[in-house]
């Protein structure tokens, strides 16, 4: 499993807009580079990132080779209720990673 780093506040007030930051370990090989003997290195990227909040999708991103290695994505959501915020990354060569964090909303 690829290493991911998620930053979500553990606690939030109901209705508060919180920032979610995600970082995941991935080479994001663009498919446009060549090795030292001139052979093209095949593309190997994360193509899709999804975030759900208690099962409901709140954010989705399609990634292209122009996204840096170890993709960083930050976005916001309204803290609606206590529960689980889950993250899924999918990509080339069957790449798949998932993480989740709990949030307490008061």
């Amino acid at each position: 499993m690829a290493r991911a780093l998620i930053n979500v506040p553990a606690k939030a007030k109901r209705g508060e807009v919180i920032t979610i930051k995600t970082l995941i370990s991935h080479v994001m090989e663009s498919g446009f580079r060549h090795n030292q003997i001139g052979v093209r290195i095949p593309r190997d990227i994360i193509t899709s990132f999804t975030c759900t909040y208690n099962g409901e999708e709140i954010f989705q991103a399609d990634l292209h080779p122009a996204i840096t290695a170890n993709p960083f994505i930050a976005f916001t959501t309204i803290a609606t209720e206590s529960g689980t915020i889950a993250f899924t990354w999918r990509g080339d060569n069957g790449f798949s990673a998932a993480e989740s964090v709990n949030i307490t909303v008061e």
């Binding site: 446009f32 709140i58 991103a61 122009a66 996204i67 960083f72 994505i73 930050a74 976005f75 959501t77």
Partner: protein
């Protein structure tokens, strides 16, 4: 035989030209030489390809400047990682919100960078990521609103050429 000699000559001339700039520009151009050629070799997309990508995103709708703010450093230390933040001026209510944000670029191998879908639950239309820039170029952020309108902001980012490379290319 003649052809081969011409070829060798051309090669040698290229080498001499490189060496000339080494001497002329001193150490500075010497270490940077390889980087310059890499940056150009990788630039494949064109402003036309970007326009086509925008057309695919917005269809027949007009993309108007405004409402969107694309934050990027004017000068990047390394094209491998340039931070970007897109903020859209929107109340983010069920009736009036940002549905999608797209980032496209002019001179990368492909115009597409990232496309995100969001909605009123985001509270704010504010996303950040990091992107690659193969060369100095313009980057466009486009927001699709729930009323079907499209808005954009454009930034030019200068990619400085690094002096110290991993390998000789």
């Amino acid at each position: 035989m003649t052809d081969k000699r011409t070829e060798n000559l051309a090669t040698r001339r290229d080498v001499l030209a490189s060496a000339g700039s080494l001497v002329g520009g001193g150490l500075v151009s010497g270490l940077g030489l390889a980087t310059i050629s890499v940056a150009h070799a990788q630039a494949q997309s064109t402003p036309a390809a970007m326009a086509l990508a925008i057309h695919k995103i917005a269809g027949e709708a007009t993309v108007k400047p405004g409402k969107v703010k694309l934050d990027m450093p004017p000068l990047s230390e390394n094209g491998n990682s340039v931070s970007l933040t897109v903020t859209v001026d929107s109340p983010m209510t069920p009736a009036n919100h940002v549905k999608a944000i797209h980032v496209v670029t002019e001179k990368n191998p492909q115009p597409y960078v990232i496309s995100v879908r969001l909605g009123p639950r985001a509270g704010q239309a504010n996303i950040s990521t990091r992107m690659r820039l193969s060369d100095t170029q313009i980057v466009v952020a486009i927001a699709e609103l729930s009323d079907g309108s499209f808005w954009s902001d454009t930034r030019t980012v200068i990619v400085t050429l690094g002096a110290c490379l991993e390998e000789l290319i």
